[in-house]
């Protein structure tokens, strides 16, 4: 039966599928296109053939290898942000389901999710650099990435935490376990799928972040910023950017698949 709830006829189902397919093609065609064109001899022509490995091979040659330093920076920032956001999300997320009045708290943390990235970036720049006169740099990049990642990390933890049976914690307490012991032996294992997903997602959000970084980077160059400046300029580097982006995209894709699997296995 194609129609469990009875809202669809064959025609309306086709229309709905067509609408989704259209949008998904617009979403994934550029991703597939990027992968294809990264093998093209002339990526800028939009024609994938004749194929070549030239761009991938030359990624490490001399001046072309300038992306390595931004990559190291981005991985470093990503790891810091991932750790900070996940710890914060666990601290907040495990308590939120227990609170009676949680709407305000949730709104305070999740509202930044819908704020345009540049707005957050500009706000952090003006407040810290302008009003408080603190130089921007690594810390401000970490801060804006943290702001971007925390709501997602929190959602990952909450998905698991709301299904959490709190009598288990009370039972552990009754049996004489201390607060830390209970957290370590009862809560942590139960929250683990959410924590793993949060670690992956926070890292990826930070790793691929651009609009907030532009304003707060100080002297820091992250990989997305490097790719952004290289691709917005019509430089000869663009062919290399395709290969580099394709590699990053593939790696991100795999990490997301792992994280969603972990998160879904629990449900």
């Amino acid at each position: 039966m194609i129609n469990p709830a009875g809202v669809f006829s064959r025609t309306t189902a086709t229309i709905a599928i067509a609408a989704g397919a259209f949008a998904l093609v617009l979403l994934y065609a550029p991703i597939a296109g990027l992968a294809l064109l990264s093998f093209s001899t002339r990526p800028l022509s939009g024609i994938p053939w004749p194929m070549t490995m030239e761009w991938y091979a030359s990624l490490f040659e001399g001046d072309n290898a300038r992306w390595v330093e931004p990559l190291v920076t981005s991985v470093g920032v990503g790891l810091i942000v991932s750790a900070l956001a996940t710890v914060a999300a666990v601290v907040i997320g495990r308590l939120i389901p227990l609170l009676k009045r949680r709407a305000g708290l949730l709104a305070a943390y999740l509202s930044v999710l819908v704020m345009p990235g540049i707005l957050v970036g500009v706000a952090v720049l003006f407040f810290y650099r302008g009003l408080l006169d603190i130089r921007t740099g690594l810390w401000s990049v970490v801060l804006v990435h943290f702001v971007w990642a925390l709501p997602f990390a929190l959602l990952c933890i909450l998905i698991v935490a709301v299904r959490f049976d709190h009598r288990l914690v009370e039972a552990a307490r009754d049996l004489g376990a201390g607060a830390f012991r209970t957290f370590l032996d009862i809560e942590l294992p139960l929250l683990r799928p959410g924590i793993v997903a949060s670690v992956f997602f926070s890292f990826l959000l930070s790793f691929n972040e651009l609009p907030r970084t532009i304003y707060t980077r100080g002297g820091i160059t992250t990989l997305p910023y490097y790719i952004w400046t290289a691709s917005a300029a019509h430089s000869s580097q663009v062919s290399l950017i395709y290969a580099l982006s394709a590699i990053i995209m593939a790696a991100s894709f795999i990490l997301v698949l792992i994280a969603t699997r972990v998160l879904m296995r629990n449900n």
């Binding site: 039966m1 194609i2 469990p4 709830a5 009875g6 669809f8 006829s9 189902a13 229309i15 609408a19 989704g20 949008a23 998904l24 617009l26 979403l27 994934y28 065609a29 550029p30 991703i31 296109g33 990027l34 064109l37 800028l44 022509s45 939009g46 024609i47 907040i92 308590l95 305070a108 930044v112 999710l113 819908v114 704020m115 345009p116 990235g117 707005l119 957050v120 500009v122 706000a123 003006f126 407040f127 009003l131 006169d133 801060l143 997602f152 959000l205 691929n208 651009l210 609009p211 304003y215 952004w228 691709s231 982006s245 990053i248 995209m249 991100s252 894709f253 997301v256 698949l257 879904m264």
Partner: protein
């Protein structure tokens, strides 16, 4: 947790709110003169910037409508038209993945596809359909629209999908058993109950899109500048109070929308939550 929340409020929410304060100051370099003035607003809302702001609203409004038109039927089908299984899981994963991919990397490819010497033009000219390349494909509003539809589709689908998933199948079946056509069941049962999802979807799509700088820069090519570029211009021109004023305007719009939603929810909750309740009369 109290410590964290305090830090969050002071370190993150306060800076965002401080945009409003800064917008009333006068700037000198990166420091501010503590004199109250409206000059920042005057400098932002001058003719050519007004034009950009109106264009942003028009583009974002149109793309959001397109997203809604595409996402609602698809979300409905995902929630109520297909059984749990591999197809559904794969589609849902496909809707998660894009959140975590670099937006610049997946937008840049439109350029060789749409460009003057790009794929579409060389195909059309090669097959003899036209002999002059089409110029309106790239660096136009068309390109910006096209580039925005894909990336913002998941933000629209997810809230609608979740809100429709939460509707009990029995409600729909009951309506059908009582003689409603599928369309009537959709209009009288599903649609009213999915309003929160639609509202959330519109917010999650439209507001981040207002600040999008990737599609407009890479596909607008400077000819279709939107709000993000105005920000850029203001910051580059060191008109920081001006940028803050623009930000405050966005923040204000955001708050107004949030209040409307809260009020709408309050009304929804006070009126019948069950659609059959209102049918009794």
């Amino acid at each position: 947790m109290a410590v964290l929340t305090t830090l969050w409020a002071i370190g993150v929410l306060l800076p965002i709110m401080s945009l409003v304060l800064i917008s009333f100051l006068q700037g000198r370099g990166l420091s501010f003169l503590w004199t109250f003035s409206f000059s920042a607003y005057a400098s932002v809302f001058v003719d050519y910037r007004i034009e950009t702001i109106l264009r942003s609203l028009r583009v974002v409004g149109l793309v959001t409508l397109i997203e809604l038109a595409l996402a609602f039927p698809f979300a409905l089908w995902l929630a109520k038209g297909i059984r749990e299984g591999w197809t559904k899981s794969i589609l849902l994963v496909l809707l998660v993945v894009p959140f975590f991919l670099s937006p610049a990397a997946r937008t840049i490819v439109w350029r060789p596809i749409l460009g003057r010497e790009g794929l579409i033009n060389s195909m059309l000219m090669g097959s003899g359909v036209t002999d002059t390349p089409m110029d309106w494909l790239l660096f136009t509003e068309f390109a910006v629209h096209l580039g925005l539809i894909g990336p913002y589709f998941p933000s629209m689908v997810w809230p609608i999908f979740i809100s429709i998933s939460l509707i009990d199948d029995e409600l729909i079946k009951a309506a059908r058993d009582l003689g409603a056509t599928p369309l009537q069941a959709l209009r009288d049962v599903v649609l009213p109950l999915s309003v929160p999802g639609i509202v959330a979807g519109v917010i999650f799509t439209a507001i981040p899109m207002l600040g999008d700088n990737v599609a407009t820069t890479l596909l607008g090519g400077g000819r279709v500048s939107l709000m993000a570029e105005t920000f850029d211009d203001l910051v580059r021109a060191m008109n920081y109070p001006g940028a803050a004023a623009l930000g405050s305007a966005m923040l204000g719009a955001f708050l107004v929308i949030a209040i409307i939603i809260v009020l709408a929810f309050a009304r929804l909750r006070s009126s019948a939550t069950n659609p059959f309740e209102s049918m009794k009369a």
